[in-house]
């Protein structure tokens, strides 16, 4: 597939079929994703993987725990949360992406940006293998809360960047068109250098 086509046709996949995903393949693609994003020095990010049935159950527990912890919602939404839990558990492979934070703002932004770029490479490389995913950043009570961070072992000097839910799929949704870049465009050009 041509690169332009790959970039345009990649879709966020939220519904997977049951075909198992190999951890080895996920790691290989992530390594290539890093190689396509050259950097100097130490990697200031890491990944936590959940792919075995036990790990997936554990992750589903963590993701539903905060909602279940509340007695009111447990009564009112018990069934709903159960179906949440089941849906989480059915995701074949999960990668939690974590970046190091830094008191120096520039360094902080650098590590975050680089990890985001790596994850985009990973999405494209996976799509080339017919492997789909959704990058999740949902707010509390599901993802972005202290209890969940403690469960996954996030350290003081780290930040959660995303949960990638990964799997094979039967059908890709239709893409929603994007605004042309021309409509978001400003040019600062000197008249002596008209190179359009």
């Amino acid at each position: 597939m041509h690169l332009e086509q790959l970039i345009r046709e990649r879709r966020t996949i939220r519904k997977f079929n049951g075909i198992p995903v190999s951890e080895n393949l996920v790691m290989q693609l992530m390594l290539k994703a890093e190689q396509l994003c050259p950097y100097e020095g130490e990697a200031r990010w890491r990944y936590v993987y959940a792919g075995t049935p036990e790990a997936r159950e554990k992750l589903a527990d963590y993701l539903s725990e905060k909602i279940m912890g509340n007695k009111m919602t447990k009564l009112a939404l018990g069934k709903l949360v159960e179906s949440f839990h089941k849906r989480f558990m059915e995701v074949p492979a999960n990668v939690i992406a974590i970046a190091k934070t830094d008191p120096v703002p520039g360094k902080n932004a650098e590590a975050y940006g680089r990890l985001c770029r790596i994850l985009q490479n990973f999405q494209l490389l996976a799509w080339e293998q017919q492997l789909g995913m959704v990058w999740k950043t949902e707010p509390a009570p599901v993802l972005q809360n202290e209890q969940f961070y403690n469960r996954i072992g996030l350290n003081e000097d780290e930040r959660f960047v995303g949960l990638l839910q990964i799997g094979y799929f039967d059908k890709a949704p239709k893409g929603r068109t994007r605004t042309p870049a021309e409509r978001r465009w400003t040019a600062m050009e000197s008249s002596s250098f008209g190179n359009v």
Binding site: K32, A50, L119, I152
Partner: protein, 165 residues
Amino acid sequence: MKLIDQVIVPLSELQIDHHRPVSQKLVLELLNHAVWAPNHMLREPWRFIYVDRGEVDKLEWFSHHPAAHLIIVIKNSSNPMKQNENIAAAFCLIQNFQLLANERELGVNICVHKWMSDRQACAKLGVSEKETIVAVLELAYGVKHQGGRQRKLPNSLNWSLLSEG
């Protein structure tokens, strides 16, 4: 060529060709593919400022070597979580752009500078207080340095299993 077989040659590893401009037309063409980046709720938080070499002379904090600069700006969100999602989406777009440019043998350096948070510098570029500069891309054509130092590619990941925690 499949993406899995591509190799990125960043601008820093090129001997810049100072006579070859990077046109707005090309940058727009690549951007119109790059905007297919994932972005939550399809907020498309970005806008672009293209600065040609002639203009760079008036902006003392810019490097003078690249043929053009492309500044990636996002609209700020008062919700820090959304702000992070918007920054993440912008970096996905930037990565798309880097891959596409690389295929056309256009060198890109993705820079995060200190001055990007300086109000005066932003004002000079027409970037308002309600916006943030995410990165500045330096763009130029060139040929790979002969006998340049071979960059080491990463060969392992910081990888662990949830059940180990």
